[in-house]
Amino acid sequence: MKSKKIGLVLTLFVAAIALMACGNKDDNNIKSEGPGDVGNKDYKTEMNIAVTAQPPTLDPSMTVSQVALNIAGNVFETLYTLNANYEPVPMLAESVDVSEDGKTYTFKLREGVKFHNGEEMTAEDVVASMNRWVTTSSRAKSLLTNAEFTVQDPTTVVLTLESATSDVLIILATKAQFPAIMPAAMVEAASAEGVNEYIGTGPFQFEEWKQDQYIHLVKNEEYQAVEAEASGLSGKKEAFVEDVHYHFVTDHSTRIAGIQTGQYDIAESIPLESYEQLNSSDDVQVSSYDGGALTAFYNTNEGLLADVKIREAITTGLKMDEILLASYADADLFSLNPGYMNPNQTQWATNAGEGIYNAGDVEKAKQLLQDAGYNGEEITLLTTKDYGEMYTATIVIQEQLRQMGVNVKVENFDFPTFLERKNDFTKWDIFVASTGYQLTPPQLLAVTPDWAGTKDAKITELLTAIRSAESPEAAQAKWDELQGYLYEYLPSTVIGHYKSLIASTNELEGFTVFEAPILWNTKVIK
């Protein structure tokens, strides 16, 4: 009798295990997707990418969200784009003529380029898209004030500027809030919240957005690639997969598990602590790419740090190498450099300010604080644990400030609250932020007045000088001067530069990373 009951229980367990074992048989469902025989090898027709969060929109001119811009970059294209050297090169434009006074740009458009709805791109579409961009994108509004695009003929578009500036083409190629070319009808139908559909000219076209699950792109069969060799975001683009799914996977461990099992081909934003673990795996590649700069912003408007002497004292005492090591764990993942711009973007690379940057002189800092009349007042470090590196850096800075004899407290909030408090100058003295690179100095958050409150006449003057410089060399010299001044006025200090990590399976062929994973020209081996 008893054995019968034991049998009953055992049967239930065996049934449960058998149910799980069934998964083994159907494992192929997860990993392989339909036939895709190209050349000698078998390739998959689907690519799965795990991203950290669902973007708010795919309308490029409305957002600075990296996830949104990375996805939208497959669907939409721009007149100019960046090559691997961060130089602006034509994409939907064929060429440009600049007038002698520098105020008129005449773009010749590529012919025969079709939108995903089958219609051919015309000058009307370009003008509608670009004029919307110069009025909706805050970057464009501030960098190209009162700029206007007009149709000259069906394949020629003219840009008229208020004043000549040296950085027009690179602004047109900027990734943040990029000027996507879309059909004029779509632009006209757009509301204040953005466009209602996503029709571009890119190698992939928008298919479906399943809220909180995925965005599905499909191959654009009629894509018209340029002849030039692929480089960065420019050159020949070819879609080798039929379907691309961007899955929204907020949990780090799930993204990592997914890449290890091959459920995802690419996983973005791999946490730094998993670098070693994934790097040692045979089936997974970890690519690092220029992430951005970690910067400490000082409150120049209110409180103790409104005094430049206090800012100077604090900067003198900070040991950037310690902060970076704690924040990024591995020396491969960060570099010390006082530059606000990407050190690899040669035009803007400068070491101006290296005297005070990473001085780490605690005794001198103490002396400077005393000279400035510091009397033990409390300063507040604002941070959020939602970005691990920002939090860790803040904690190390807290400790370093204590060693300088500063009375310091840390206030930690979730990210939305952090953003709100950042905008209230009575609530903080210092905060650390990791932000992606900008392509030109005037786009830097560190010099944008309403971002961290940096307002200074000399900064504005030098920014204007950079933009109106007659040659790249003259602009570079002015930037050199401005960065030097930033290390005198000290509205902020760069802590260092970090790499971002992307994991991919070994099954990818031709895969490159430039600012983001590049999906075109990439094959997935079965």
Binding site: M1, K4, K5, I6, L8, V9, L12, A16, L19, M20, A21, C22, G23, N24, D26, D27, N29, I30, A53, Q54, P56, T57, T63, V64, S138, A176, A192, E193, K210, Q211, D212, Q213, H247, F248, V249, T250, D251, S253, T254, A257, G258, Q260, T261, Q263, F413, D414, F415, P416, T417, L419, E420, R421, N423, A433, T435, G436, L445, T448, D450, W451
Partner: protein, 316 residues
Amino acid sequence: MIIYILKRVLSLIPVLFVVSIAIFLIVHLTPGDPAATILGIEATQEQIEELNEQMGLNLPLYQQYIQWVSGVLQGDFGQSYFMKESVTEAIWSHLGPTASLAILAEIVALVIAIPIGIFAAYRRGTAVDQSLMGVSLIGMAVPSFLLALLLMLFVGVYLQWLPVAGYKPLSKGLWEHFQYLILPAISLGAIQAALVARMTRASMLEVLDANFIKTARSKGVYEYKVVLKHALRNAFLPILTVIGQSFGTLVTGAVVVETVFNIPGLGQLIINSIVRRDFAVIQGVVLFVSLIYVTINLIIDLLYGIVDPRVRLERK
């Protein structure tokens, strides 16, 4: 009886009114700006103010509340700022995965728990009983997220038997649907299984000591019949109550498991909406879940009224 039902239904109105004010205030007094969150870290103050204005978040709080409540009374829970769809659509599309997960977790819990509970009660006091109850104690103590991660690592990554994350709706096929839910259901069902197993054991113990069981045995009824037919049937009512109560907990308890296994259910919706400060969705989901709880309570009250007429009389 009809008057009793009417009274009970009417009594819900002040409850829901208070709940609606509480939800609204909690959400709107939480620091964090929806526009800033949507626009991201590099957004400027000007952009943030522009978006807040567009979303009507610059209006005084009482006006926003009146707008929201009058919408809700007409069945309109508002628009999600972030997802650009109505809150009702958002809830509806996220309800399916949570319901599937909760049902499967409940099945997992029952399949494990009831045999264990019966067996432990039957072998009361023996080493088998003690070890089964020990295991169930561990089951109650292990947090579901830990179990979720362990299962993901072992069954998903190491054995590669099941996918580690994601969700496919039932329309894609039964196995496609279930293979994504098995690991989350086990993680979620384990605590429930432990609770139900202990409840089954306790309830069975009480019944197994009763005189009618002794009578049945003395009449020579087969032992399995004594246990499964006579004892279990009588012990089942309290177990059923626990199962009923636990189902609500499963629906709301799915939050963490849904996040770990990336299942787009209500739990994930509310977590994401809090992170995005998508006020309308947070309010909508909390109100929806409150409605479910209040309705379940109402049904239970009404059932009590039907089963036991004294309840009705007392309330008159």
